[in-house]
């Protein structure tokens, strides 16, 4: 008999299926990820819960705020030429503003305030603007993907609406600068620690 089949039945009280599974699968998920981790070393923090959602989405909000800050400063930069790159920066700026606003609304009163940050070398040239955009967009996608299993279904539904747009951004800016827009079959998730490490290494954390 299928081992997990009993989880398919609706739980009493109509609890969302994945929330119920999260209680039983938390450890299993970690073991799976550790053993096979191609989707990324994304061990379960704990069973999905609204409190954990708030932590994760708060972290994601930090990334969206960082992106919004970057594109706002890039748009104001004198090195940004008219054309494809400017169109990209201005459109994506609107999106990241919307993403940050969206997450703030979901988080409510507990939403962290945006950190102040001034980009410097990243805005030195059109090339550095493009490469920073690629870094930030890829990082956002992998951060969200890395947390998917740790979110409740409600939060996952919201995060899913954002992550695919960041992925579009990543392919878009690569297209503009003539890099292969999407050569890999997967977008493995990374842990929050990986995200922080990447930002620190780039001088942005």
């Amino acid at each position: 008999m299928g081992g997990t089949d009993e989880h398919v039945a609706a739980a009493p009280g109509g609890m969302p299926r994945r929330r119920l599974l999260g209680l039983g699968f938390a450890a299993g998920g970690a073991a799976l990820a550790a053993g096979w981790g191609l989707a990324g070393p994304a061990p379960s923090l704990a069973a999905p819960s609204p409190a954990q959602d708030a932590e994760i989405l708060g972290f994601a909000l930090g990334l969206e705020d960082l992106q919004e800050t970057f594109y706002r400063q890039a748009a104001a930069s004198s090195v940004l030429p008219a054309g494809d790159l400017r169109d990209f920066v201005e459109t994506v700026r609107e999106h990241e503003t919307a993403h940050a606003s969206y997450l703030r609304t979901l988080l409510g009163a507990g939403a962290p305030a945006p950190a102040a940050f001034t980009f410097t070398t990243e805005l030195a040239s059109p090339e550095s603007i493009a490469s920073t955009a690629i870094l930030l967009e890829d990082l956002a996608v992998r951060a969200y993907n890395g947390q998917a299993g740790n979110l409740t279904t409600a939060a996952l539904a919201e995060a899913a609406k954002v992550v695919s747009v960041d992925a579009r951004h990543a392919a878009w800016i690569r297209s503009i600068v003539g890099q292969p827009p999407a050569s890999e079959p997967t977008d493995p998730g990374v842990t929050a620690a990986d995200v922080t490490a990447t930002l620190t290494k780039a001088g942005l954390g």
Binding site: A33, K161, S164, A171, E184, D187
Partner: protein
């Protein structure tokens, strides 16, 4: 859905065919134990110890497989038509390779629970660069919405991780093709999900799912697949 060539409503049995195939495949999976428990595409093909997949997840994986088969056949046929050149040709080859990899990985994890590959008739779309691009945009946007629509329904965390990983790759494809068409790579600040019913209805309306193979050549009959 704009950008799709006018299809005719086939016998209307396509979605039902898919549903019947899935029900049969799911039942086989339930009885024999389809393998799940992989955290990504590579791990999907690596197949660690067998873990029974829920009937629900088998159905979702087969649904994903059906869409990947559609895309894979589309890009493969476009590449073989030799009608595409330049950046469009590069996109068809690269994205096609990825969609074929998705098909292979999904078939591997589903094992005998996998649905049979459908037959397709792309009605000349793969031989016309402009129609190809417009249809590719539609397919990729649809794939994003389809995976997004299933994400919250998956039981197994490992299957979720794989689905989420493919979901964002399809979004990259969508943006890439849109860029080639000359339209904005993004649709809006947020991408919306589509339900399985909605997706299958759109696919059915294209008329691309054929009931039987189409002979490609008289000398050495082959099938468009």
């Amino acid at each position: 859905m704009s950008g799709l060539p006018a299809g005719f409503d086939r016998d209307g049995a396509v979605a039902e065919t898919l549903a019947v195939a899935e029900a049969a495949a799911s039942r086989r999976a339930f009885l024999r134990g389809a393998v799940a428990g992989a955290t990504g595409l590579g791990a999907l093909t690596a197949l660690p110890e067998a873990r029974a997949a829920s009937r629900n997840d088998v159905a979702i994986l087969n649904y994903a497989l059906s869409l990947e088969e559609l895309q894979s056949a589309f890009y493969t046929e476009a590449e073989r038509s030799k009608a595409l050149s330049g950046e469009t040709g590069v996109a068809a080859r690269t994205i096609g390779a990825v969609e074929r990899a998705h098909v292979k990985a999904l078939r591997k994890v589903l094992g005998r629970a996998a649905i049979r590959r459908p037959f397709f008739d792309f009605q000349g779309v793969t031989e016309d660069p402009d129609k190809f691009l417009k249809t590719a945009v539609a397919f990729e946007d649809l794939a994003v919405a389809a995976y997004k629509g299933q994400a919250t329904l998956v039981d197994d965390p490992a299957v979720l991780a794989a689905a989420i990983s493919i979901h964002s790759v399809e979004a990259r494809h969508a943006a890439w093709i849109r860029y080639l068409v000359g339209t904005t790579p993004t649709v809006a600040a947020l991408d919306e999900p589509k339900s399985k019913d909605e997706v299958l209805q759109i696919v059915r309306a294209t008329g691309f799912i054929a009931q039987r193979p189409k002979t490609r050549s008289r000398r050495r009959p082959g099938f468009t697949g």
